[in-house]
Amino acid sequence: MKRIGVLALQGAVREHLQTIEACGAEAVPVKKPAELLDLDALVLPGGESTTMRRLIDRYRFMDPLRDFAETGKPMFGTCAGLILLAGEVAGYEEPHLGVMDVKVERNSFGRQIDSFEADLEIKGLDAPFNAVFIRAPHIISAGPDTEVLCEYDGKIVMARTAQFLGCSFHPELTSDHRITEYFINMISVEHQSITI
């Protein structure tokens, strides 16, 4: 059975664990760097990126997470998780993990009162996906090897660079598991997908 970790420092951890299990894989909460061993893939959940970053630094997660990224195993960031993966964060000098070739902007749809649900057309999915955006970031620009999987209102909200998948919204908050299934399926093709 595929073992998928969810970084469990803060945020929507429970929802990701339940979604992964609903897709037939084993879900593992990751609170300590040693728990990254023996995983096939890792989810960086939604939450507050500043909080997660502080806890990543405090518990020396940064190098183990970058090492994990180098193994070629898939990583999926939702909302705050996308911000952690991004190579560049608008308005900040340094990225967090900086492993995915995209530039993101935080809170780019506005404050909480501007948060919304919308039906998205996502490449590779046969029917629209109802997505929940909460103080969401978006991808301002994507590198040449990044495949844009979805745009909403002229903004990139889902993309994939090799083994890295990121989206602005929260698939874990809905009962539609197609995006997590897509991510889990990336595990079996991981070696073909390392093109960078």
Binding site: G11, R14, K31, E48, S115, V132, H170
Partner: protein
Amino acid sequence: MNQQGTNRVKRGMAEMQKGGVIMDVVNAEQARIAEAAGATAVMALERVPSDIRRDGGVARMADPRITEEVMKAVSIPVMAKARIGHIVEARVLEAMGVDYIDESEVLTPADEEFHLLKERYTVPFVCGCRNLGEAARRIGEGASMLRTKGEPGTGNIVEAVRHLRQVNSEVLKVVHMSEDELMTEARNLGASYEFLREVKSLGRLPVVNFAAGGVATPADAALMMELGADGVFVGSGIFKSESPEKFARAIVEATTHYQDYQLIAELSKNLGIAMQGIEISKIAAGERMQERGW
């Protein structure tokens, strides 16, 4: 089609706060300290609960200038308090773009009979509760997040523990109840039948429930997580302690690693003096904030 202010969007925002610490702040400087320490949100207000308790008088929504100052200072969500039943304070906070409103018993109630009909707002609300009946009524009115009431501004965790245990034991009771007992339980609790059916099918409350009202140390925060809180509000406990930065960081870390007791021991060392606490029995019944709201 883009829909704002749906239950999913409003409750989802609270889901993103889980495992986090929301800190009371009264100015931009405190807000920046809270953010740097790893707070998942800040609550902007004019006086922290212990000062409200000490000063007495009517406690109202904060001066909008303070809330705006805090909103400009940090990138994390900003919450603010409105008085129970004060429609206009709530609408003002919504118009200012505050991310979450706390319809709070820490402020002096504006209405002693009716809470806000929170489902009518685009902005989400958090409300206090002491038991499943209060939780049900607040969710029924449209609250998207709950917190225990505890006894704010005391630095004494005992009431928050009581309220969290009460809510959770009542949830467990409903979950294990036979279907045909739910209607009578609904009547007894003052909860709707539909709400209890939802709790039973989910096996938990339908919204996030944080602990609040008395958290003063890293161990207090960890205790509330151990008892099943989704996260922690800290009111006076940080900026009324001797070293707010240290307390703020230690409480954030203890909340994440609430079962790592060696770590909590380390985190608790050399923090300086915690906020001074108050024995609950020393507070006159009429001055207990938890009695506000119904």
